[in-house]
């Protein structure tokens, strides 16, 4: 299959059974990881430090080589299709470091020359939108972290990529810069052509822009799901102590992700409320309290549950 054919048919990003271990490390950065990001959608990647988010993004960009498994970006292998495929990819690292001695104007010209689809008018618009016009003559090394991230984002967006890989672009930014970056991102995604993989510690950012959410922990996918479904499905329930025996019998296969026995009652994280209600024994006291959770609560509860 040619790169062109692959790119017309494939999903934005597909990973199947991908494992990666860094040289000299005993632990796996990613272990048997599978996920798919459809074209035109935003995948929010959540995970603690060292969970494997950066590794995943760098593998998709072809910066790292997987030990095993299959990776496809727009249907093509990022390792083999290298430079041709990267014409359709935008990448922003966690702390963008370009060349400190070069001015933004020079860097923009250098990057523009690499992308046939570079849209200069759109780039100018992004510079205006991100308050970067006055910095064009400045050297990259003189910029603040926020300005560096904004400039890297403008470079990554100006060639209208089909896949945008963003590794914690909002971490370490002040609230105003974060809001600016997110709003530019949302505007850029309006055409529905660009798929985004967006990793972050800041769950509210992911909640704001993601269509799908993947939570990874210690290199494995804990959950990957449509954000709305996830927010509707996962709840916290407060149950009577009498339910403890039944919960133990239910085991890990049931709709209960995790539960904790308190002095008077049980707090449980329910993965599927409908299934839970259908299974809940009639003999046990009702009603029980159910609380909807935001993405941060779900993320913390899921990763904590795994640790226990």
């Amino acid at each position: 299959m040619t790169l062109e054919t692959a790119m017309e048919t494939g999903a934005a990003l597909t990973m199947r059974g991908v494992s990666k271990r860094y040289r000299g490390s005993r632990t796996w950065a990613l272990r048997d990881l599978s996920l798919e990001v459809p074209r035109g959608y935003v995948m929010g990647l959540l995970g603690k430090n060292g969970a494997g988010k950066t590794t995943l993004i760098k593998l998709a960009c072809g910066l790292l080589k997987a030990d095993s498994g299959d990776i496809r970006v727009l249907g093509a292998d990022p390792e083999r299709s290298g430079p041709e495929l990267r014409r359709f990819i935008g990448y922003v690292s966690e702390a963008p470091q370009l060349y400190n001695n070069l001015s933004l104007r020079w860097l923009a010209g250098f990057v523009a020359g690499r992308f046939p689809a570079w849209d200069e008018a759109y780039f100018r618009q992004l510079l205006r939108r991100l308050d970067l016009r006055d910095h064009l003559g400045d050297r990259f090394g003189k910029l603040s972290k926020g300005t560096k991230v904004k400039f890297a984002l403008a470079l990554a967006l100006a060639h209208r990529p089909k896949v945008l890989l963003l590794d914690e672009p909002t971490s370490g930014l002040d609230p105003a810069a974060r809001r600016e970056v997110l709003s530019v991102l949302l505007e850029a995604l309006r055409d529905g052509e660009t798929a985004v993989v967006f990793s972050s510690h800041i769950t509210s950012d992911v909640e704001k822009i993601a269509d799908f959410v993947t939570i990874i922990d210690r290199g494995r996918v804990l959950l990957t799901e449509d954000k709305e479904t996830l927010l509707n499905r996962v709840v916290r329930a407060v149950l009577p102590r009498e339910a403890g025996e039944w919960l133990e019998r239910l085991g890990e296969e049931g709709p209960v992700i995790h539960w904790q026995m308190g002095r008077r009652r049980i707090t449980a994280l329910i993965g599927d409320l409908d299934e839970f209600e259908a299974l809940y024994p009639r003999a046990l006291p009702r009603p029980f309290d159910v609380t909807r959770m935001n993405l941060e609560d779900i993320f913390v509860a899921l990763t904590d549950a795994r640790e226990e």
Binding site: L63, P83, S93, A95, Q97, L98, Y99, N101
Partner: protein, 208 residues
């Protein structure tokens, strides 16, 4: 690839200009300074250029539509270009009429010395670049510093004697032009081998 070489030349423009001023000093002081210049120019610029890559430039380049081979080859081309520039400048300055009170540059020093030293500088800098793409900036710098200290061994009387006894001196005085061409040819072969090896290794490397 040309874009990558131009990027390095532009980024290092101040440093390159600084080093290009050395032969003017050499004109006043004499040929030994030309030799130091020809070693320092490519070596120092390569070190500074790879420092910028080590600080995040390499990750940035690898995320753009450049192949790994292009990135490696561009660095080796940059060094060759700097050497050509350096040798050209030294030959040009050496050909100028000597200043009053200074020794005229011997005929053979016009191109024999620059070409021989350029061969050594190419191998030294090629080895540094190869190590950079293989094991990273800091370790490459440490190893190549050790390599750069090798000529200083000639200052040790015992080593001087060995070198003299080995007959190199005889060869130098009998036909220095032939020796210079052999050194150059050998250096270029080693340089090419270092480039090919760096391309092979870097193609498989993680940009972490």
């Amino acid at each position: 690839m040309l874009a990558l070489v131009l990027k390095d030349l532009y980024e290092q423009r101040t440093n390159i200009l600084f080093f290009l001023a050395f032969p003017a000093l050499g004109y006043l002081v004499g040929p030994p300074l030309y030799g130091a210049f020809l070693i320092l120019l490519p070596w120092s610029i390569a070190i500074r250029a790879t420092y910028a890559e080590d600080r995040g430039g390499l990750e940035f380049l690898c995320s753009l539509p450049f192949s790994r081979n292009q990135i490696v080859t561009a660095k080796f081309l940059l060094v060759l270009l700097l050497l050509l520039l350096g040798v050209g400048e030294v030959v040009l300055v050496s050909a100028l009429p000597p200043l009053e009170g200074t020794q005229p540059v011997p005929d053979q020093a016009l191109w024999v010395m620059p070409v021989t030293v350029a061969g050594f500088a190419a191998v030294l800098t090629g080895a540094f670049l190869n190590l950079f793409f293989r094991i990273g900036y800091i370790r490459a710098l440490n190893y190549s510093r050790l390599l750069a200290l090798l000529p200083l061994a000639l200052l040790i009387p015992q080593v001087q004697q060995i070198v003299l006894k080995s007959g190199v001196q005889l060869f130098l005085t009998s036909d220095p032009r032939r020796l210079a061409l052999w050194v150059l040819a050998g250096s270029l072969v080693v340089y090419l081998a270092l480039l090919l090896d760096a391309r092979r290794v870097f193609g498989q490397k993680d940009i972490a």
